[in-house]
């Protein structure tokens, strides 16, 4: 480490003191937060209690909301034809799951979502790359991307069903159309935002343009690209449901529209509940994934 030098006429600042002792003292807060939960292991019950206590206002608010809903639907509305109570929704969920019907709907919707979303992410990144790296590409694509992103393309769902039938293909297309634009725009923005000094730095070591792309531009754009993926989740879910509403053999949107036609409110709400859970889980899972994959961000 530091040579103990008699020539040091001034006091070294704190950071140097830290490195002098060979201990990364200045960054200790970071190191601790990285291993945060492992410092001591509290009992499971205690940590569960803590989990509820820390968020007591959220739990309370949710509980009161559900209770109000139960009260309104059973006492004030009083008819399952107009509004299902939370307990009735739970029964419906159990029933639908037991009969395997829910499984069928969830499987269909999941497949449509994953295919459309996957295709859109791959194509979106590719388009964004073309727009960021070629002036002609940018000029040619820009009007379409900007125009179609601003258009509520979900309104085209009936058209896609006309073209591609009531099978899963039409839904995959709707999802892909909704997801692709935020991914494209974010990829382009992210690649363009690459700091030029970082590019210069690796160029000074003799990096090829391919190396510059993979070692600098792409990693630097990743937070933007991920934000695009995250935006795409909500839009993709809307796409699945709306496309299924306009005509499908199975899927959560089909369950919802069919339940609405037969005034089966518990089933309708069961479908909505599953969708809400899927949205929350995917957005949360994504935040977790970003944390894992981009640990260098603040």
């Amino acid at each position: 480490m530091w040579r103990a030098s008699s020539t040091l006429t001034c006091c070294p600042n704190e950071n140097q003191t830290a490195s002098q002792s060979g201990e990364p003292a200045m960054t200790q807060s970071n190191a601790v937060s990285a291993t945060g939960g492992m410092a001591k292991a509290p009992s499971f019950a205690a940590s569960l209690g803590d989990f509820f206590y820390q968020r007591r206002w959220s739990w309370g608010s949710v509980f009161i909301g559900l209770a109000l809903w139960e009260f309104i639907s059973r006492v004030i509305v009083g008819s399952k034809l107009f509004l299902a109570a939370p307990t009735q929704v739970v029964y419906a969920l159990v029933d639908l799951s037991g009969s395997g019907e829910m499984g069928k709907h969830v499987w269909t919707s999941t497949l449509e979502f994953l295919l459309g979303y996957g295709v859109a992410c791959v194509l979106g990144v590719a388009l964004g790359f073309v727009m960021a790296s070629s002036k002609a590409g940018k000029q040619a694509l820009q009007p379409w991307v900007a125009g179609l992103y601003a258009t509520p393309t979900v309104a085209l769902a009936p058209l896609f069903i006309l073209w591609f039938g009531i099978g899963i293909l039409s839904k995959v297309v709707v999802v892909a159309v909704l997801v692709i634009f935020p991914v494209t725009i974010n990829t382009e923005t992210g690649l363009r935002a690459t700091p030029t000094q970082l590019v210069e730095t690796v160029r000074a070591f003799g990096a090829s343009s391919r190396q510059i792309f993979f070692k600098v531009s792409l990693p630097s754009a990743l937070p933007f690209i991920f934000a695009g993926f995250r935006l795409g989740i909500g839009r993709g879910l809307i796409g699945v449901v709306v496309a299924e509403l306009f005509g499908a053999r199975a899927g959560l949107g089909q369950l919802i529209s069919q339940s609405a036609e037969t005034f089966n409110m518990p089933n309708l709400f069961a479908g909505v509940t599953v969708l809400a859970a899927a949205g929350i889980a995917m957005t949360g899972g994504f935040a977790w994934l970003e944390e894992k994959l981009l640990p260098w961000r603040d």
Binding site: N13, N15, S19, G22, M26, A204, F205, P295
Partner: protein, 262 residues
């Protein structure tokens, strides 16, 4: 000058940006193992000169040869230490330091050992797995230096590497650089606007004049090595600083005035 072989040879090098003549007819030779500083008023083309030697910019006229080979572009035979540390925020300190060998396909267990040795040399042992944002400005500049040394360059190019640091950290970095240089005796081209920094570190100082940028005078610094920081208070040292300051004073005045009046 020493009798060491010529490391860098610059011949009639000129550079224009459009109608702006930034460098005019620079000819000089630098011996192996020399520590050369370039001082001069801001805008006189110091950065441009370094970038041309680094291969990041093309000369308009003339050329430069490193170890007898004409400089055509960037390469791992030069290590560039930029004014900003320019560390890649998504890489930890170890892989930031190793990016030069990585780009040149030279990663190996021996290289890894060398990288660890360099991090130790710049006082960052134990920080290999930290991210740049977890380090102070001074520590990041050390990584910047270690990264340039990791390609084992024939020539080290440094563009005001300490200018973003506070005065105390800066003085410490000067002693550190001096110590590191004495261990490896690399050939160094060091740009600074701080005259005492140049005198403290250098064997020779190129004083640039502006509009167009050219070498006005070359000063041999005849001070014994190793140099303790206290040498900065000796009469010889102060004489050197005064002399160089007088050389560029007028130029600096003009350049400051121009900056303020546009």
């Amino acid at each position: 000058m020493s009798d060491a072989p010529v490391k860098l040879s610059v011949a009639n090098l000129s550079k224009r940006f459009g109608s702006l003549e930034v460098l005019q007819d620079i000819t000089t030779q630098i011996s192996s193992g020399e520590f050369i500083s370039i001082v001069g008023p801001s805008g006189c083309g110091k950065t441009t000169f370094l970038r041309i030697i680094g291969g990041l910019e093309q000369a308009s006229l003339g050329d430069a040869h490193l170890d007898g080979r004409r400089i055509e572009g960037p390469g791992a035979d030069r290590g560039f230490v930029f004014q900003q540390d320019n560390l890649l925020p998504w890489r930890d300190i170890l892989s930031n330091t190793e990016i030069g060998p990585e780009i040149n396909g030279a990663l190996s267990p021996e290289q890894r050992a060398n990288t660890l040795r360099l991090l130790k040399l710049v006082g960052l042992e134990g920080f290999e797995n930290y991210y740049p944002r977890q380090l102070s400005g001074g520590m990041r500049q050390r990584v910047n230096l270690a990264r340039a040394l990791a390609v084992d360059p024939a020539l080290l190019l440094m563009d005001e590497p300490f200018s973003a640091l506070d005065a105390q950290t800066r003085e410490i970095m000067q002693t550190e650089l001096s110590r590191i240089w004495e261990e490896g005796r690399k050939t160094v081209l060091f740009v600074t606007h701080q005259i005492d920094e140049a005198v403290y570190l250098s064997d020779r100082i190129f004083v640039f004049a502006r509009r167009p940028g050219r070498i006005n005078e070359i000063i041999d610094i005849d001070l014994p090595r190793p140099r303790p920081l206290s040498i900065k208070r000796t009469p010889r040292f102060v004489e050197y600083v005064d002399y160089i300051w007088k050389l560029i004073e007028e130029d600096v005045r003009v350049s400051v005035l121009q900056e303020h009046t546009g």
